[in-house]
């Protein structure tokens, strides 16, 4: 074989193998062989193989009357256009021809595909076909062309604006066909998200548009309705009449079978409802309760979850909206775990004086289930009810005792200890409760099986109610001997607090305590690597050596204010943001979109711009993302912190906030305590102490 031949062979590629077979199939003289080859190419593409090398050969098959083949070639083009941008131009002719085809299906297919070929060179050739299809007599083609404008804008905004496509699109919003209208709206929304230039009016929602949309709402397909509802939601009403009209037209949509429409309708009604008078507001809210319930009778668990998450947010803003509907949230055995936990959360929020007996019975059942996190949350919930409803407290405690007796096990015991400690935090110093609770805890606590949280609860209780423990000296010595070194800093902190409190207690005079105190102070100041903990030990040490009884009493034995509620709530600002973002991803994550969606780079400019425009009432829509961008991170942290401390007496909140702000800077190692209840005693105690020091 001559060298020349070898080189030629090499250039031609192998004559065997899949690629060769496909290649020869694609250029076969027989129609069915070519089609078969295309199908196999697409199959290889689906499997993730790179078949981009066949691009020229596939392209040869684009001019065909066979619709299926055409679709396949187009599909291939969309996927591999980027690898061969220069060759795409070869397809342009066929595209342009196809947009003139008598069959609207082909016209639409061509314009849809052209938009999906994300190659810059394509832009120049799109002008004429797009212009033509935007004015096509067939609505199917027009609705496809409407979306193509957004695709073009994505590729090249300037061309899109210069050729007047944006204006054409704006006109389509008043088209006679509902589907064209909704696609045009969608397309405008997309463009709005893509837009980076600040002096471009994209979607102007005025009352004329709203009136038109209200008329087409019932004519639209289900997806169109969602778009129209979004638009209705984004309109800021000028008067109560306008708001009322929108609400009245949207209410029938609550009965649509598609839960996405139901949720969007609820959102829209809630927004405009605020403009109405109190009486009609309440009447409208009443109408929302059964649609809300319908969100969780959907057979798709994922949709139920979205429903629950949104219900949780709505409940916080409107606590009475579902007051009679506890039973529908009862957990079903077949529910996935994430639904069970979410339902539990909602049931606690719905608990009241009338239904807590029923709910406690349910919680008892759930505590006997086998999923650990469900058991944990059920027991925690019993505590939450006891704190929320004072009349239920004895029943709650008895239930916990029953659970420990009937089932036991470390999981239940640890969780019960935490739960009972929290109950005592709400009702401090109540003798009957203490004598009821403490024996249960001291009888069941086993250090070897305890979790960090339950150890903390246990040690805190010893400091707070030392007189109720029998054999306190033994317990403390044993903990010191065997376990202290394994404690983490959080537990050590509580240990320090407790041991000092015990020493200051006049009823307990024992050398062992003072010995332990001395050892603890030595140990922490000498061997502890945590600055805050060490500093705290030094402060106490100095305080004790001053020997001013009044001062120590005031600082160390200062009683904690009872906690109000331990049900997690959003701060008002975040809650409002979430209400505005109902139905979106942010409701799932429970935080505003600004915290998890990357903000556009020119964010700040746009925000100010936005506000100005809003003042002039030119641009009536809020871009949620951008608005969220105004909250700086610091504020967010502050919010979360103030969440944390809503438990404290309110007059002190501000000082505490300030303080804590400083602490937050100086104590970076303080674990981010998202209101984990058992760590709260120490934490807020901490602050009280510090507060008094200043």
């Amino acid at each position: 074989m001559s060298l020349e031949k070898k080189i030629r062979n090499f250039l031609q590629g192998p004559r065997k193998g899949e690629a060769y077979e496909l290649k020869s199939g694609l250029v076969s003289q027989y129609k069915h062989e070519r089609k078969d080859a295309i199908q196999r190419v697409i199959q290889a593409m689906t499997l993730g193989k790179d078949v981009s090398s066949l691009f020229p050969d596939v392209l040869k098959n684009i001019a065909t009357y066979d619709l299926e083949q055409k679709k396949l070639v187009y599909l291939y083009l969309m996927n591999y256009a980027k690898t061969h941008p220069e060759l795409c131009i070869l397809a342009v002719n066929t595209f342009v021809q196809d947009t003139e085809d008598p069959n609207p299906l082909i016209r639409a297919l061509a314009i849809r595909t052209m938009g999906c070929i994300r190659v810059n060179k394509m832009v120049d050739y799109m002008e004429i076909p797009l212009q033509r299809t935007l004015k096509d007599e067939n609505p199917y083609v027009r609705k496809t062309a409407a979306i193509c404008v957004a695709k073009l804008f994505d590729l090249n905004p300037q061309v899109c604006i210069e050729f007047g496509f944006l204006d054409d699109l704006k006109n389509l919003v008043n088209d006679g066909n509902p589907m064209v209208i909704s696609n045009a709206l969608n397309s405008l929304y997309e463009i709005n998200d893509l837009n980076k230039s600040k002096d471009l009016d994209i979607l102007i929602i005025n009352y004329d548009l709203i009136k038109n949309l209200l008329l087409v709402l019932n004519e639209c397909t289900e997806w169109g309705r969602i778009t129209v509802l979004k638009c209705l939601n984004d309109y800021n009403c000028n008067s109560a009449e306008e708001a009322n009209l929108i609400i009245q037209r949207v209410i029938p949509q609550l009965q649509h079978i598609n839960p996405a429409i139901v949720l969007s309708s609820i959102k829209t009604i809630l927004k405009h409802n605020q403009l109405l008078q109190k009486a009609s507001q309440d009447a409208n809210l009443k109408k929302l309760s059964s649609p809300l319930i319908s969100l969780i009778s959907n057979p798709i668990p994922e949709a139920q979850y979205v429903g629950l998450k949104n219900i949780r947010i709505i409940l916080e803003k409107y606590p009475d909206i579902l007051s009679k509907e506890l039973r529908v949230f009862f957990i079903k055995y077949s529910d996935p775990l994430y639904l069970k936990l979410e339902k539990l959360d909602i049931m606690i929020r719905l608990s009241n004086e009338n239904n807590f007996n029923l709910l406690l019975n349910e919680l008892k059942e759930y505590s006997m289930e086998f999923e650990p996190s469900l058991i944990k949350k059920s027991i925690k919930s019993i505590g939450l009810i006891a704190i929320k409803l004072p009349t239920s407290i004895i029943k709650c405690i008895n239930l916990i005792i029953e659970l420990i007796d009937n089932r036991g096990g470390e999981l239940i015991i640890n969780e019960s200890i935490n739960c009972l400690t929290t109950i005592l935090r709400k009702y401090p110093g109540k003798n009957d409760l203490i004598t009821l609770i403490l024996p249960i805890i001291s009888n069941n606590f086993k250090i070897d099986e305890a979790t960090h949280e339950s150890i903390m609860s246990y040690i805190w209780l010893m400091g707070e109610y030392p007189n109720y423990f029998t054999g306190l000296t033994k317990i403390l010595s044993s903990l010191w001997e065997n376990n202290f070194n394994e404690f983490n800093n959080e537990i050590k902190l509580i240990w320090l607090n407790s041991i000092i409190k015990i020493n200051l207690n006049k009823n307990l005079n024992n050398e062992i305590y003072s010995n332990l105190l001395q050892k603890t102070l030595n140990e922490i100041t000498e061997n502890c690597d945590d600055i805050d903990l060490r500093d705290k030990a030094y402060i106490y040490w100095r305080l004790l050596s001053v020997n001013d009884e009044q001062l120590t009493d005031k600082i160390i034995l200062h009683k904690l204010p009872p906690i109000d509620s331990v049900i997690k709530n959003f701060s008002p600002q975040i809650l409002n943001e979430l209400i505005n973002e109902l139905g979106t991803l942010s409701t799932i994550y429970g935080k505003p979109s600004s915290t998890f969606i990357e903000a556009p780079s020119n964010e700040i400019k746009q925000v100010t711009e936005e506000k100005e425009i809003k003042d002039e009432n030119l641009l009536d829509f809020d871009d949620e993302e951008e608005e969220g961008g105004t909250t700086t991170k610091n504020e967010n942290i502050l919010d979360e912190l103030s969440d944390l401390f809503t438990n404290n007496s309110k007059s002190e909140t501000d000082d505490i906030l300030n303080l804590f702000n400083e602490m937050n800077i100086t104590q970076p190692s303080q674990p981010s305590q998202t209101s984990s209840q058992s760590s709260q005693p120490s934490n807020s105690k901490n602050i009280d102490d510090l507060l008094d020091l200043f």
Partner: protein, 434 residues
Amino acid sequence: MASQIHFLDIKGKSLLSRDYKGDIASNAIEDFPLLLLDMENNEDESNYKPFINYKGINYVFIQHKNLYLCGLTSKNENIMSIIIFLSKLIEVLTQYFKHLEEESIRDNFVIIYELLDEMMDYGIPQTTDTKILKEYITQNYYKLIKNTPSRIVQPPNAVTNSVSWRKDGIFYKKNEAFLDVIESINMLINANGQVLNSEILGDVKIKSHLSGMPDLRLGLNDKGIFNNEESNSKGIEMEDIKFHQCVRLSKFENERIITFIPPDGEFTLMSYRLSSTQFLMKPLIAVNCKTKIHKHSRIEILCSTKTQIKKKSTANNVEIIIPIPDDADTPKFFPEYGTVKWVPEKSCIIWKLKTFPGGKQYHMKAELGLPAVDSTEDLILKKPIKVNFQIPYFTTSGIQVRYLRINEPKLQYQSYPWVRYITQSGEDYTVRTK
């Protein structure tokens, strides 16, 4: 809405994908199997949720048999829409292929691509109605086109019409409409036979064999709907009525009349829910089951069941599914009536009673052996007993169809509406065990 849609196998490996927008890297889905694994292996099982946010990309997925359908977006999108769209996708594909599994995706990738193209464009949902899609995306149109030029297949007008669910020119020789009122009962009963929670999920299904563009009007004995023209005291009040998109919602809201142009063939016209706050405090089929476990030797089950329905009604195909420990074996059954079967792979025994007249009571005794060695798990019996049944010619709520008026303005034909009622167990008719 969603930038990419993926079909993935149970491990999260991609089977078929469609990128609609190109604003998310095409390899983003390759992270999905790991994320999935991470979540499943996490010690805290409560971490599993059908939503993942990773590197600024949101993965929204639903599971269907051995498949995941996953939508990707980087924006704060309407999450309910994405989930409903994915479930519609499953619905459409199931109607096309009968079963949607890994296998059917591999076999039908061409048509799936076509459907994906038609159902969503640039991430915006378009048409998700199978009946209409079938008009222009046909399984075998390959053959159709062979002999005729492609000009034949056109988008049906219905796609963009306001009546997007029915095509023109339907003709039947005999015009009939079959109406099924099906009520599914979900009940949660505690071990003492007390009803904790119950609900009726009703569906009114129609099979329409009607020509032209008929306009239908349905009359029910609902209080809310028929307050003014109805004097009969036995009306019922339905909550939470949901209608098929063909029903004119504003007409219903304003005048309480159900009017619609039906799609051709079978569809669910409306569904409603009635919760226990109204009535239904007694189980239709009560089950009382006592389980005695003699550790290391055997387990004894004593079960009795009673129908608490009218004497002339009969419950059919009653199945009482009783959970047993995984390691139980050598079953012995002594049913007074019916048959009992042991299903070891599901750790349960099923007591079947083919017909079960109202007011009757039957007993059953079962004994199974337990292994002599200690089993670590002693909590499995928390699993509730499930009951399946059907009661024909009977609705629990008392809903009745008063009339179904059919009017086709052009054709003016005679038509025959047929009505059937049935009550059955829902997904969750369960009795807790002690």
